[in-house]
């Protein structure tokens, strides 16, 4: 019993606080910093890509290094930025939102985090092995046979993916156990804040597909080194088998990257519209249906590989069906704002931009879902435009908006609103200049993942590069702003935003190290 009561006194300082911590707030902070650091690493790689594509012909890097950049950029942004950032939010927010004293399994929580830096050291170290073939370069989708032929970097990628998978599975288990078991009395499932709901469903997706991804890369590894023929037709296997397994993971994965974003936006919009979320129940059901449908649409990434006609049709219709619950969500966000008394602080700006721009991404997704159209669009810059609209103006905008929204709560200081607005506008403008032209490039036939292009594509590419640099450098402003908010700034009140509702806003800003040691009562 002694240890049980002693822990409230234990509040280690210095480096060991961060290394050994079992506190959800500390672990949340660690996740968020890791994501921010890797955001700049991955962003720098994107700028190498865009710099090379500023003009046709080869300028800055050789094709092989270019391919390493596209591959590593995607792997880092997906697994190192968006996913850890969401887990950071989950750590900070879920216990505070459901009135729990911490995450359900605090030591495991620390473990889920600390696996990540090691995995990324392993993955990134390949950049310094250029003589052995350098970093993985067959694309983040790791398709064989190209991946079978890659150098040692591919093996590093596979093993780091295994580590990332362990981290995600442990993290997801923790989220589920916390939400199912740690809610304050009266916090019924259908009273949970939407961010908590979206994370609960995301955690199920993670548990269902990360192990499948681990299986897929394990087969790659044995095909590479132990003579198996999973993906080799000469031995009775099939390279397409990999694509099926990969996308069975990959499509739910893109929803892992967007559902928590839906949750964040569903917290922000009611606050600044000063109205409760419109259609709470339908939001929950829509999230669940999206998650369910995400398991039966994977082959829309494979329309051009020669699937049987019945397969093409099934996956086309199933994919289009996802637009229905997605439309429900967009409708609800807009209706929440309808006749609200709206103000546009930085979090709200990002949320509104999310609604507009994510919808553009959803619509380009619908175009891609049309099989005959996809025959033209597949593997062109149109796909690149699509997934940057859903991932940057979707996932990343929600993360930035969420950071502005909760930063005052976390740090106890208000951020500088003027700087925040600058950051927002530079980001939105840079983003659209960078990615809108890519739709046209794709429709005109410019292939993705190629370091050179035909002359007629030059102008749009130059716009895109200029926009990308604007977008990239605008993020330095965010870094500055975060550091400034931590260090100084106006004292934030408990309520922070006058329209904000929920348990986290009943806690002081910043909240004490341990919160809700005795559960609050929820009416």
């Amino acid at each position: 019993m002694a240890t049980a009561t002693a822990h409230h006194g234990a509040h280690p300082t210095g480096i060991s606080r961060w290394l050994f911590t079992t506190n959800h707030k500390d672990i949340g902070t660690l996740y968020l910093w890791l994501a921010l650091i890797l955001f700049f690493v991955g962003g720098a790689m994107a700028l190498v890509i865009r710099a090379e594509l500023f003009e046709p012909g080869m300028q800055i890097v050789d094709p092989h290094f270019f391919n390493q950049m596209t591959t590593m950029h995607a792997l880092i942004m997906v697994f190192g930025v968006v996913m850890p950032a969401f887990v950071g939010f989950a750590n900070w927010q879920i216990p505070m939102m459901i009135g729990a004293p911490d995450m359900a399994l605090p030591r495991m929580n620390n473990w889920s985090f600390w696996i990540l830096p090691f995995a990324f050291v392993l993955l990134s170290s390949t950049l310094f092995m250029q003589d052995q073939g350098g970093a993985p370069s067959a694309g983040w989708t790791l398709y064989p046979p190209l991946t079978i032929q890659g150098g040692i970097g591919t093996d590093f990628a596979i093993l780091s993916i295994h580590m990332l998978g362990i981290s995600s599975v442990l993290g997801a288990i923790n989220v589920i156990a916390t939400i199912l078991n740690m809610r304050a009395p009266g916090m019924t499932l259908m009273k949970m804040p939407l961010f908590v709901w979206t994370w609960l469903i995301t955690a199920f997706l993670l548990l269902a597909v990360m192990p499948v991804f681990a299986g897929a890369v394990t087969m790659l590894l044995t095909d590479r080194h132990f003579g198996t023929s999973f993906f080799d037709a000469a031995g009775g296997g099939d390279p397409l088998l990999f694509q099926h397994i990969f996308w069975f993971f990959g499509h739910p994965e893109v929803y892992i990257l967007i559902l928590p974003a839906f949750g964040i936006v569903s917290q922000i919009i009611p606050t600044f519209a000063r109205k409760p979320l419109f259609g709470y129940n339908s939001m929950v059901y829509a999230t669940a249906s999206i998650a369910f449908l995400s398991f039966v649409v994977w082959a829309h990434h494979m329309f051009t590989v020669g699937l049987p006609l019945a397969g093409e049709l099934f996956f086309m219709y199933a994919t289009m069906l996802i637009a229905v619950p997605t439309g429900v969500k967009v409708f609800n966000w807009i209706t929440t704002m309808w006749r609200g008394s709206m103000t546009f602080e930085t979090p709200m700006l990002f949320a509104v931009a999310f609604v507009f721009l994510f919808t553009i991404g959803g619509l380009s997704g619908l175009m891609l879902a049309i099989v005959p159209a996809d025959f033209q669009y597949h593997d062109t810059y149109f796909v690149v435009a699509h997934f940057h609209y859903v991932l940057v103006s979707g996932a990343i905008f929600a993360i930035l908006g969420g950071a502005y929204y909760w930063l005052p709560k976390w740090t106890g200081h208000m951020y500088n609103e003027t700087l925040g607005k600058w950051h927002f506008w530079l980001t939105v403008i840079g983003f659209n200049i960078a990615f809108f032209p890519q739709h046209f490039l794709g429709l005109a036939g410019m292939p993705r993942r190629i370091p050179d292009y035909a002359l007629q594509f030059t102008e749009f590419n130059q716009w895109s590069t200029v926009g990308a640099f604007l977008l990239g450098f605008a993020q330095l402003l965010f870094l500055y702003l975060v550091v400034q908010t931590i260090r100084s700034g106006k004292k934030a009140s408990t309520q922070v935003w006058d329209g904000a509702k929920g348990l986290e806003w009943t806690l002081p800003s910043p909240p004490p190290y341990h919160t809700f040691a005795t559960a609050p009562k929820v009416k």
Binding site: T3, W111, L159, I173, G215, M219, T228, F230, A233, G235
Partner: protein, 291 residues
């Protein structure tokens, strides 16, 4: 469901997670170097494994101490239950990837290769197959060649192993009944029998592998049949090994007098895991060996 959690146990800061992450890092790095035949690989793997094993022992040791110390309330117990249940679900999905591969090659890729006359003239798209890259001979007395192999029949060792694993599922349940009735002798005997059956299973599995490699020409390299056969049964065997280790720990704890009829999550977690391994085997027996 949610109760007042004034006394939900929140552990102190712990060094185990970061040290075990170091261990995993060495293990992964060592694995990459080893498969590329680079010098320090095996040593790094050894160091990594040692760290991981040591920390698991210490970490679980601490949890067991806390549990026996009585500081876990019912709510903590429920967290562990959710955790273990969903961990097993993730394991199911890991196996699903390999079963998916097996179904796909049998249903699609092998028949499709058979239809491709230009590339593979004369290829007979029948299962089991090592694919078109070499001649197939699936009669029992074939000499092992590059792609010549005999498949593993279902009704010899695999059928016996099915019986063994099913009985072990029964013995572990019997042990559980013993625990519930506070009959320690039944608990310990049941666990002992389960472990013994698990070890016999593994021994037969090893024997089967040796037989496959030395007499049947059935290896990892024997086309997609060999690949799916060894990866599925191999990962299963690995999980049985883990299960046996876990059962042994539980047996040790039972001998030390741990567990009460109303407080034995550790036992149940291992029993669940054992049943999971059992069910996977049934699918293996049906789809890998039999059909």
């Amino acid at each position: 469901m949610s109760t007042a959690h004034g006394n939900y146990y929140l552990p102190n800061p712990s060094p185990w997670p970061i040290i075990i992450s170091f261990g995993l890092f060495f293990l992964a790095l060592g694995a990459v170097l080893t498969i590329n035949s680079l010098g320090a690989g095996p040593w790094l793997m050894l160091v990594g494994t040692a760290i991981v094993a040591y920390i698991i022992a210490r970490w679980f040791g601490q949890v067991i101490g806390e549990s026996e110390g009585g500081i876990y309330n019912k709510q903590v117990d429920r967290s562990f239950r959710w955790g273990m249940a969903w961990f097993i679900f993730s394991e199911v999905m890991f196996f699903a990837a390999f079963f998916g591969a097996l179904f796909y090659v049998r249903q699609f890729s092998v028949p499709w290769i058979g239809e491709t006359e230009l590339l593979w003239p004369g290829f007979d798209a029948a299962w089991p197959t090592a694919g078109p890259k070499g001649p197939m001979a699936i009669t029992p007395d074939t000499v092992a060649g590059a792609n010549q192999f005999s498949p593993m029949g279902a009704w010899g060792i695999p059928a016996i192993n099915t019986l063994i694993l099913l009985s072990s599922g029964a013995t572990v349940t019997w042990a559980h009944w013993g625990l519930l009735k506070d009959n320690r002798a039944q608990l310990i005997t049941g666990l002992f029998l389960t472990i013994a059956l698990g070890i016999i299973f593994l021994a037969l599995q090893i024997y089967e592998y040796i037989h496959a490699y030395t007499e049947l020409g059935l290896t990892l390299k024997a086309g997609v049949y060999g690949a799916t056969f060894f990866m599925l049964t191999g990962f299963h065997g690995f999980h049985v090994t883990l299960g046996v280790i876990m059962l042994t720990v539980i047996l040790g704890r039972s001998l030390k007098g741990h567990f009460r009829s109303d407080h034995h999550f550790g036992f149940e977690a291992v029993a669940w895991y054992w049943h999971f391994v059992d069910v996977v085997w049934l699918f293996l027996f049906i789809f890998v060996y039999w059909l």
